[in-house]
C-alpha cells in the first residue's frame, strides 16, 4: 500500500480532516498534507466543492491544539535534524527527512507532532517531548529506548524538528 494512502481510501482522495481544513483555510494546519497526495480527479472535485461551500470568517482553533513547531523558544529544527543524524536515531526509528535504513525497532515518527501520546504513556507536549528525549527510562522504566545522553539544548533542537512532522 503506498504511503500516501489512508486506510481504505484510494490514492488521491484527501482525508476528511484535510478536506475540513481546506473548507475553512487555517494557517499552519496540515502543511504539506495536500502536496503529498497525488491530485486525482476525486480530490479536485471534492476540493472545489468544499471551497465553493466554505464561508469567509476566521476558523476557530481546535480546543486543545497539537503543539506547533516553534513552540520551543530558541530551539532550531535545522540543527535538530543534524543532531538526529549524529545520534543515530534512525537505527531504531523511521524519520521523514532523515536518511536511514528504514529501521523498525521502535515506531515510525511520521506524524509525531499529531500524536497524542509519547511512548504510549506521556502527553505529547513540547516540554514532555524534551523530557522524554533526554531520559526515556526515567519516564517508562521498561522502555527499550535508551538514555543517549542528550544535552538539554540538543534535546530541544531535536524536539523542534520532530514537531515539524505533522
Amino acid at each position: 500500500m503506498p504511503r500516501s494512502t489512508l486506510a481504505g481510501m484510494p490514492p488521491g482522495w484527501p482525508d476528511p480532516p484535510v478536506a475540513r481544513a481546506l473548507g475553512r483555510p487555517r494557517a499552519g494546519r496540515w502543511p504539506g498534507a495536500a502536496a503529498r497526495r497525488p491530485a486525482g480527479l476525486g480530490a479536485a472535485l471534492a476540493w472545489s466543492a468544499l471551497l465553493a461551500l466554505a464561508g469567509c470568517g476566521d476558523a476557530p482553533p481546535p480546543l486543545a491544539p497539537p503543539a506547533q513547531a516553534g513552540a520551543l523558544p530558541g530551539a532550531d529544527s535545522v540543527r535538530g535534524r543534524q543532531r538526529i543524524a549524529e545520534y543515530g536515531c534512525v537505527s531504531c526509528h523511521q524519520i521523514p527527512g532523515i536518511r536511514g535504513a528504514g529501521a523498525r525497532v521502535g515506531p515510525p515518527l511520521r506524524h509525531l507532532a499529531s500524536r497524542a501520546y509519547l511512548g504510549g504513556v506521556l502527553a505529547n507536549t513540547p516540554a514532555n517531548l524534551v523530557r522524554w528525549l533526554r531520559d526515556p527510562p526515567a519516564i517508562a522504566p521498561h522502555t527499550a529506548m535508551p538514555d543517549v545522553g542528550l544535552s538539554e539544548a540538543d534535546a530541544r533542537d531535536i524536539a523542534a524538528y520532530l514537531l515539524t512532522l505533522r
Binding site: 500500500m1 504511503r3 494512502t5 489512508l6 486506510a7 481504505g8 481510501m9 484510494p10 482522495w13 482525508d15 476528511p16 480532516p17 478536506a19 475540513r20 473548507g23 475553512r24 471534492a46 468544499l50 461551500l53 464561508g55 470568517g57 476558523a59 476557530p60 482553533p61 481546535p62 480546543l63 486543545a64 491544539p65 497539537p66 523511521q94 528504514g102 523498525r104 525497532v105 521502535g106 515506531p107 515510525p108 511520521r110 506524524h111 499529531s114 500524536r115 497524542a116 501520546y117 511512548g119 504510549g120 504513556v121 506521556l122 502527553a123 507536549t125 526515556p136 517508562a140 521498561h142 522502555t143 527499550a144 529506548m145
Partner: protein
C-alpha cells in the same frame, strides 16, 4: 422547439429515469450491508465524514464560547464526563464499555476530538448529538452551562496521563467502577484469521487511536501508526515483537505497562489472535 432539443430532452429524461430506477433497485434489493460489523465502503465513509463535519461547522459558526479556563468548570465537567461520556468514549487508560465497542461508527477518542475540533463545535455536538452515530443529544438532559463544563474538562483531558486521570477520579468522583469480567468464548480456538482480525479492529475501537492500513476510518494519531508493525522489533517500546507477545499485549496492555494510555479492552484470546494475524500482514514498513 427544434428537433435536436426534443431529442436531447428525451435522452436526458430517459437517462434520469433509468438512473433513478437503478438507484432505487439497488436500495430495495438490500445490496447495501447495514450491519455494524461491516464498515461502510470507503467512498460512503468519506462522504458521510465530510457531511457530518460540514453540517457541524456551518451550524456552530455563531456559537459564542464562554471562558473555559476556570478550574472549577473543568471539575464540574469531569463529574458529568464520568457519569455520561466515559462509558462510550473511554479516557486515558479506561476502555469504553462493551456496548460501546459494537457501535458503528466507533465512538471517538475524545483526546483526539479535543485536539482537532474547536470548542464551539464540540459544544454543538454534545448539545445536538449526531444522527446515525450513536451520539445522543444532551440538550434535554443537561443545562447549557453544564455542557460548557464538559467542554472545559475536555480541554484539560489531552494533558492528563493515566495516573493524572486516576487522580481526578479519586479526588472528584470517588473510586472507579469495576470493569465487567471478560467473557471467554466456549468455542475452540483456531489459528488467527487476518480478515476476522480486520473486522475486530473496528469492534475494539483500535481505529479511534491508530492509523491502520486497510481498515476504513483508521486514520487517527493518538497512538503510533501501525503500518509496518509486522517488521517492528518492539511492541509499545517494551515487548519483543513475537506473535505470543502481540496477543498478550492486545489482550491486556495495562498488565504489561501500567502507565500505557492503551486500555484493556477485554479482547478475547481468539480475537487477539485474529488481530495479530491482521497486524502481521502489515509488513510494508515504508
Amino acid at each position: 422547439m427544434k428537433p435536436w432539443m426534443r431529442t436531447a430532452g428525451i435522452t436526458l429524461g430517459a437517462t434520469a429515469v433509468a438512473g433513478g430506477a437503478a438507484a432505487l433497485g439497488l436500495v430495495y434489493s438490500g445490496w447495501y450491508d447495514s450491519s455494524a460489523t461491516n464498515p461502510h465502503t470507503p467512498p460512503v465513509n468519506y462522504v458521510l465524514d465530510i457531511a457530518l463535519q460540514r453540517s457541524v461547522t456551518v451550524r456552530a459558526a455563531d456559537v459564542d464560547v464562554p471562558p473555559l479556563d476556570d478550574p472549577q468548570r473543568a471539575i464540574d465537567g469531569f463529574k458529568l464526563f464520568r457519569a455520561h461520556c466515559v462509558q462510550c468514549h473511554g479516557a486515558p487508560g479506561v476502555a469504553p464499555e462493551p456496548f460501546a465497542r459494537g457501535l458503528m461508527p466507533a465512538p471517538a477518542a475524545l483526546v483526539d476530538t479535543a485536539r482537532h475540533w474547536p470548542a464551539s463545535e464540540i459544544y454543538w455536538v454534545i448539545r445536538y448529538g449526531a444522527k446515525m452515530t450513536g451520539m445522543p443529544a444532551w440538550q434535554y438532559r443537561i443545562s447549557d452551562d453544564d455542557i460548557w463544563n464538559v467542554v472545559a474538562f475536555m480541554k484539560v483531558l489531552p494533558t492528563l496521563s493515566v495516573a493524572d486521570y486516576r487522580a481526578w477520579d479519586s479526588r472528584h468522583a470517588g473510586g472507579s467502577a469495576p470493569s465487567p469480567p471478560p467473557v471467554t468464548p466456549a468455542a475452540e480456538l483456531r489459528v488467527g484469521d487476518a480478515e476476522a482480525g480486520r473486522k475486530a479492529m473496528q469492534q475494539y475501537l483500535c481505529i479511534t487511536c491508530h492509523a491502520i492500513p486497510g481498515v476504513v476510518g483508521a486514520n487517527r494519531h493518538v497512538g503510533p501508526p501501525l503500518q509496518g508493525i509486522a517488521r517492528q522489533q518492539y511492541i509499545a517500546g517494551i515487548l519483543p515483537n513475537t506473535p505470543d507477545n502481540m496477543v498478550r499485549w492486545l489482550r491486556d496492555p495495562t498488565a504489561i505497562d501500567p502507565d500505557s494510555a492503551m486500555p484493556d479492552l477485554d479482547v478475547s484470546e481468539q480475537d487477539a489472535r485474529d488481530m495479530a494475524a491482521y497486524l502481521y500482514t502489515l509488513d510494508d514498513a515504508k
